[in-house]
């Protein structure tokens, strides 16, 4: 009886140790790559919302919203604006989005980076069509009112994604108000990175 129990536990421990070993090796092999992927993706997105800049650096500035963060954008080693990461309340969860703003406070672009909105529905907001109408709006109207038309603004809400469109607009507004607070604290030239 006792021998049986010891044998059983020994076997379980061996299997568990073996699987822990395999996982630790996998983790060690893949972790740097996963991290690099995330950074790479972040850079691509930053470029998308702020095409004029060529370098981005995360700034250590305390913002009133703990979920938000800010990266300075540089063009030829000179501060040209910032990219803010903010989250806005969608209907099922928080939308995390990046907003590019130049030094005059003008919105250069915005992109949703993660949302778990209803698959298929909220997804529309990332579609070409929406980005296009968003860009057109930025080109034709220098100071658009970032609210959807239902709320007396200038943005056409995506069909079947009104709530997400509204969240998108509120994210942009949040980003510009945070930018005003943080603007003076942005480092003028990129800091040497380690």
């Amino acid at each position: 009886m006792l021998k049986d129990m010891i044998q059983t536990s020994l076997l379980l421990v061996t299997v568990a140790a073996l699987s822990a070993l395999i996982l630790a090796v996998t983790e060690a092999k893949t972790a740097p790559r996963i991290k690099a992927n995330l950074l790479q993706k972040e850079l691509e997105l930053q470029k998308k919302v702020f095409p004029a800049a060529d370098f981005f650096q995360k700034q250590d500035i305390k913002l009133p919203d703990p979920a938000a963060s800010i990266s300075a954008a540089y063009t030829n080693q000179k501060l040209s604006g910032a990219v803010l990461r903010v989250s806005a309340r969608g209907y099922s969860s928080d939308l995390v989005m990046l907003v590019g703003i130049d030094l005059n406070g003008k919105i250069k672009g915005a992109e949703i980076i993660s949302s778990s909105e209803t698959p298929g529905l909220g997804d529309n907001i990332n579609s070409e069509q929406f980005s296009l109408q968003f860009c057109e709006l930025l080109n034709t109207n220098p100071e658009p009112n970032f609210k959807i038309k239902k709320d007396d603004g200038d943005v056409d809400a995506v069909t079947a994604a009104t709530v997400t469109s509204r969240a998108f607009c509120s994210g942009i507004q949040k980003a510009s108000s945070l930018f005003v607070i943080a603007k003076s604290k942005l480092s003028q030239t990129p800091l040497a990175s380690d």
Binding site: L23, S92, S116
Partner: protein, 191 residues
């Protein structure tokens, strides 16, 4: 508080595990042909999901994160769920005989119900606080119970309907489920 109520409504209706997240379908189709068994299964799942939500949150945030072992989350969660189900079964057998007799047969099946592991993973992914995680798990379970009961009610009547032989059983259950899922889309935008 409003936040918590929001999450509760969200997890029961808007993001119903069965109809909008498509989790826990095996028991949803498997045991929904009788109202009584659907009720038993639904209650057992709700209970286990709630306890799982309460247990896995501290496991992840107080043990795995400080030790930098986040990559063990899947393995840790599934083992905890399996142990938990076993534990609940033993405790219930000793203390609540009636409840055990009603739910007993369904308990072992719950380990492989993806809604249970799903709720643990979703709580971590959405970065919920402990209270939010607990409410989400409870709501998820209640939503599952509701889906199962509605489905069982419909299927008991469907048995009497005349439909093509090849549609009987699982096929018609899926199509019924589809119509209900379509109805549940109506809840989106509620919060």
């Amino acid at each position: 508080m409003t936040q918590l109520i929001g999450i509760l409504i969200l997890s029961i209706f808007v993001e119903n595990f069965v109809f909008s997240q498509i989790l826990g379908l095996c028991p949803f189709i498997g045991v929904s042909n009788k109202f009584d068994s659907a009720y038993g299964m639904g209650l057992a799942v709700t209970f286990v999901m709630f306890v799982t939500g309460i247990v896995t949150w501290p496991l992840y945030h107080l043990i795995l994160v400080p030790l930098q072992l986040e990559y063990l989350e899947t393995i840790a969660f599934i083992l905890v769920i399996a142990a938990l189900v076993q534990f609940v079964e033993i405790v219930m057998k000793k203390t609540a005989r009636n409840l055990y007799q009603a739910l007993g047969v369904y308990l072992p099946l719950i380990t492989t119900n993806c809604a249970v592991l799903g709720v643990a993973l979703i709580n971590i992914k959405r970065n919920y606080s402990f209270a939010e995680a607990a409410v989400n798990a409870l709501g998820g379970g209640l939503g599952f119970l509701m889906a199962l009961l509605i489905m069982a009610g419909i299927r008991e009547r469907l048995e009497l309907a005349e439909i093509p032989a090849s549609m009987k059983g699982a096929p018609i259950a899926f199509i019924t489920g589809g119509i209900m899922a379509a109805a549940f889309i109506g809840f989106s935008g509620l919060i």
